[in-house]
Each structure stands twice: as C-alpha cells, then as structure tokens.
Amino acid sequence: MNMKIKESKLLKIGLLVILVICTQLLTKITDTQFYLTQLTMSAYYALLVIGLTVVMGYAGQISLGHAGFFAIGGYLSAALTTHNLIALQAHPLVKGLGSVGMLVSGQDLYGEQLLVFAPWAACILAVLTAAGIAFVLGIPVLKLKGHYLAMATLGFGIIIFRIGLASEYFGEADGISEVPGLTLLPALGPLGSLSVSGDFGLRVENYYVAWGLLCVGLWLLLNLIDSRVGRALRAIHGSEEAAEAIGVDTARFKLNVFVLSAVYAAIAGVFLTHYNGGIGPSEASVMKSVRYVALVAVGGMANIWGTLIMGVGLTFLSLRGVFGSYDDAVFGSILILVMLFAPDGILSLNVKALFISKRTTDGH
C-alpha cells in the first residue's frame, strides 16, 4: 500500500511534468507564447498557495497574512539589489560583504558607480529574513485559535503592507522597479547563463524555471504530508489535545510548518519579483492574502493537488484579465460559495461522493 502511494505520487508528478512540457510545445506550435508569461507567474503564486495549504488544510491554522511573507521576500530582494551602497563603501560591514562576494559593482544608465547586493545573496537574505520573522511572529501568534489567529495574522499582513507603502526605502506607493535578473547558473561553455528575469528572450527558460521550482516544491510537500510529520500535522488539525496526549509537540510542529510555508511564500516572492523586474505594495495587500486563502479553500483545504490546480488555473485566468474589474469580487464569491456549499473544495465533490458510495456498498 505504501509503495502504491509512492508510485502514484511519482506518476502524478511525472504526468504534471509532461503536461508542463506539452503546454510549452503547444504554445510554440500555435504561436501563442505570450501565454507563457502568465503561466510562469501562476506557477510562482501556486508555490505560495501549496505552502499555505499545508498550514491551513493539514495543520488547520488559518493565516490571513501570507501576502506579507511574499512581500518580505520580494521587497527585500528588490531593495537589496537596487539600492546603491556606494556611499557606504568605506563602512566595514559593506567592505566585509564585498570581500565575500555578496556585492556586485557596476554602472547605472547614467554612468554612475553602482554597488549593490548580488541577486543570489539578496535572495538568500530575503528568504532567511522571512523565515526569521515567521519564527518570531509564530511563537506568540500560533498560540491563538480561531478568530484571534485570523485577526492577528491579518494584522501582521496590514503592518507589512503599511511599511511597504510608507517607507521610502521600499519605494512607497510606486514600489521598486528595475530589479536585476537572478542568475541561477553562470554561463557554461556554449550554454548561456540561466537567470530569472523578464527578458523577452528568456521566456521559455523562465517558464521551465518556475514550473521546475513548483514541481520540486510540490514533491517535497507531498512527501512531507505522507510522513510522520504530516500525520502529526493532521492530528493537530483533528484535536490538539489528543495530539499532545500521544506526544506531539503541537506548538513546535505548528511553528515549523508556519515557517516552512513562509519560506515557500518568500521564495515565490523573490523569484516573481526578479521575473517581473519589480514589486509594488499591492503584492502585500490584505486582498492578496485573502485570495490565497480562497485558493486553498477552493482546492479543498487538505488537498495539495486540488490547490495546485485551482491555484494555477484561477491565477492564470485572473492574470489574463478574464475577470476584468470583477477580479476581487470573483475571489470573494468563490470564498463564500465554496464555504457554503462545498467546504471540502469543489474538486472533492464528485470524487468524494463516488468514494463514499463505494465504501458503503463494500460494507454490505
């Protein structure tokens, strides 16, 4: 049985990979490669959403602040790679960072000397910061339940949004633009370098980077929920008291999974920011956080594949502008309708009905 689960998991991921490749080939044949841009962005958002699924669906802890972690990743990486440190050149800390290769110098458009963080270093710092903030925030916040937890995480999200909107360092209402690409692999012989950027010529590469990242992230989470930790998380969702009674350190597990999902969100934020070449305060807005919760809900809460499909699908439609000015209204309606009529997600409706009827006939 265990082997069967493992095989079916790999099979499904394999199918996903084939689908990803076929989609790209299809856009090439039909000359609709412009779809790749939104597909790439959807993949990054879906990365955040599957991370949130583990927190909400499996461990049962609501978070209305995940756009905050996305923004911490994106904003920090953007700020570090664009803010000129040339004036602080002599500062020992800056010198130290330079000596370990974390800084790069160059020239801006006007020929000014430029000294900024190397994208890879900025990326790591941004993700670590998000993880650290999630850890510090999570210790008190995750002791809360229900409404209190929802409001506390919502409050955290608003604070991050306000900081982005009000600080000059993060570009206030305009956000940060002209963010350089994130080089993943340096140029090797005949192969060009691989970098995450909005460069038109790198569209296909970037599509594969995003979906590759999503597939790896998916595989790791599927493994996790099918392990000792995954069972413990589901136990916490079922009954914290009973989980404690059999030795699950509920506080630690909730905290760890919260940090893990924050890391997913921050990575998504970093990559998407480098891909888009910028980030604005709307990425940190409450509406974004609510949207992620909606995607988890519509995917079926404790269903990573469901949220993946819904996350990619709905985000893609939204990015294509299908919903027009009703975008937020669509997500609001989805939330209400799903919670009213299908709290286990719309994908589970049919599957579950089949499953249950089969089981009862088995019983007779």
Binding site: N2, K6, L220, L221, N223, L224, S227, R228, V229, G230, R231, A232, R234, A235, H237, G238, S239, E241, A242, A243, E244, A245, I246, G247, V248, D249, T250, N256, V257, L260, A302, R359
Partner: protein, 256 residues
C-alpha cells in the same frame, strides 16, 4: 510507577481536587471511582499535564512530572484515552494508530520532505507495529476506514490502540466502558487485563461498577475532590462511607 503527593487544584475559588495522594504500583490495575463532579477527570488532566497543579507533586517513575507539557509526559511513557473520544477527523483507523508511534519515531521535517531511505525503514516499522495493534484489538479489518465513521465501540478501540502505540509504561483510561453495552464492557475488561499482562500499568476512571470490581487490583474513591477511601475492591464494597455517597447519589438520580 506513579505517585501522587497531596495534589491540589483550584479553579478560581473552587477546590476541584484537594489533597489527593495515592500511588499506583507497577503492573497493577488501579481504578478511580466517585460520583459525578468528584474531580476524576480533573485528576487525570492533572496527571497527564493538561492542567497545572495548584500544589502537590506527581511522580512518574521516580521523576517529578508536574509542570511538564502533555507531550513531554507522553514521551516519558504515559498515554491516555479521553472520556469523549477524540479521534482525528479525516484519518483512517490505521493512520490514527500510526500517529501514536510519533514519540517512538524520529523523522523530522527535512527527512519527511526528502523521504530519505532511513525513513522508509522507520515508516515500515510504524505501519507494521500499528497494524499489529489493530489486530490485537480486533479491528484490523477497519484499518483503511475513516476512524470517525466507525461504530462507537470500534472508535474506543482505535483510541486505545493509538494510546498503546506510544508504548506506554502507564495507561490512563478515562471511562473506557462509557457508552458500551454489557458485552462490549466485558470485552473491554478482558482487554484491560491483557494490557496489564503485557506489562503495562493501568489507571482508569470508570462509572461501571461491575467492570471496576472485576478487574481492578485497588480502588481509590473520590468525592468532592477528596480521597475518601483506598482499598481492594472487596473492602471498598463494604466501606460504609463509600456506600453512603453512592446510595446518596442513587437517591438524587431517582429524584431527577
């Protein structure tokens, strides 16, 4: 095995448990009985770490455990079941028991995410041991059924299997026969004796007198949070004070 030294618990001004001391010798079955509201479940919660003592000591295997969190107590080898069954929604019977292996296994977040070969062996072991327990409790055929959709008696069995999966030295059973018919109760009685014969000490809270008198080695009687008697079943049955509170309760019940 377990020793309580003048345990007190106050809720606001209300004394829920006052000055209760007794010990549970290794390898025995000890029962705590008493009328409703006598503080039996509170006492369990104090022992298992769900509530903090107002004063007193709880000593488990020579170690003071008051103030420890429930999961720490569980890791030391004390498992419990709940009066109102607490199973995990959405998990099969087998998975529910597998969670019980939590403290006896190690794979963490990283190992879980990468499914390293070392965890395969551990997973197999968890699965096998859990299956054995389901067989021991006679519910192996329901392994893949969602635990919360099982019949009441089977749910109790799953909960007990989950507790046993932690490999406890001491098992706390909170009204294991509640809601069961006389046949099922007798079955539970045989099961508890078998658990004791496996070398696990048992402390139970129970309403069903026939079960308690049948299987316990010793009985503690609580009334209004105070210990009023502690003896072997036969003497308890003849203890005038115990008879008084039980008859008193019966009278009240008759009036209601």
């Amino acid at each position: 095995m377990l020793e309580l030294k003048s345990v007190h618990k106050k809720f606001g001004g209300l004394q829920a448990v006052g000055d209760v001391s007794f010990s549970v010798p290794a390898g025995s079955i000890k029962a705590v009985i008493g009328p409703n509201g006598a503080g039996k479940t509170t006492l369990f919660n104090l022992i298992a770490g769900n509530l903090n003592l107002s004063s007193g000591k709880v000593i488990f295997q020579g170690r003071e455990i008051q103030g420890l969190k429930p999961h720490q107590v569980a890791a030391l080898g004390m498992a419990r079941t709940f009066q109102n069954i607490k199973l995990f929604h959405g998990m099969t019977a087998l998975e529910s028991v597998m969670v019980g292996r939590h403290v006896r296994s190690r794979a963490g977040f990283i190992a879980g995410m990468f499914h390293s070969p070392a965890t395969w062996k551990e997973e197999k072991e968890i699965r096998d041991k859990s299956m054995q327990l389901l067989e021991l409790l006679g519910i192996a055929e329901f392994a893949d059924t969602e635990a919360t959709s099982l019949a009441f008696g089977q749910q109790r069995a799953v909960e007990m299997a989950r507790a046993l999966a932690t490999e406890p030295k001491l098992l706390l059973l909170d009204e294991p026969a509640a809601g069961l018919n006389i046949y099922e109760t007798a079955e539970v009685g045989r099961l508890i004796t078998r658990i004791r014969d496996m070398g696990i000490t048992v402390l139970l809270v129970e309403h069903d007198m026939s079960l308690v008198m049948d299987i316990s080695d010793e009985i503690v009687v609580l009334s209004f949070g105070q210990k009023i008697a502690e003896d072997v079943p036969l003497s308890i049955q003849q203890n005038p004070e115990v008879i008084k509170i039980y008859l008193g309760e019966d009278e009240e019940e008759a009036v209601v």
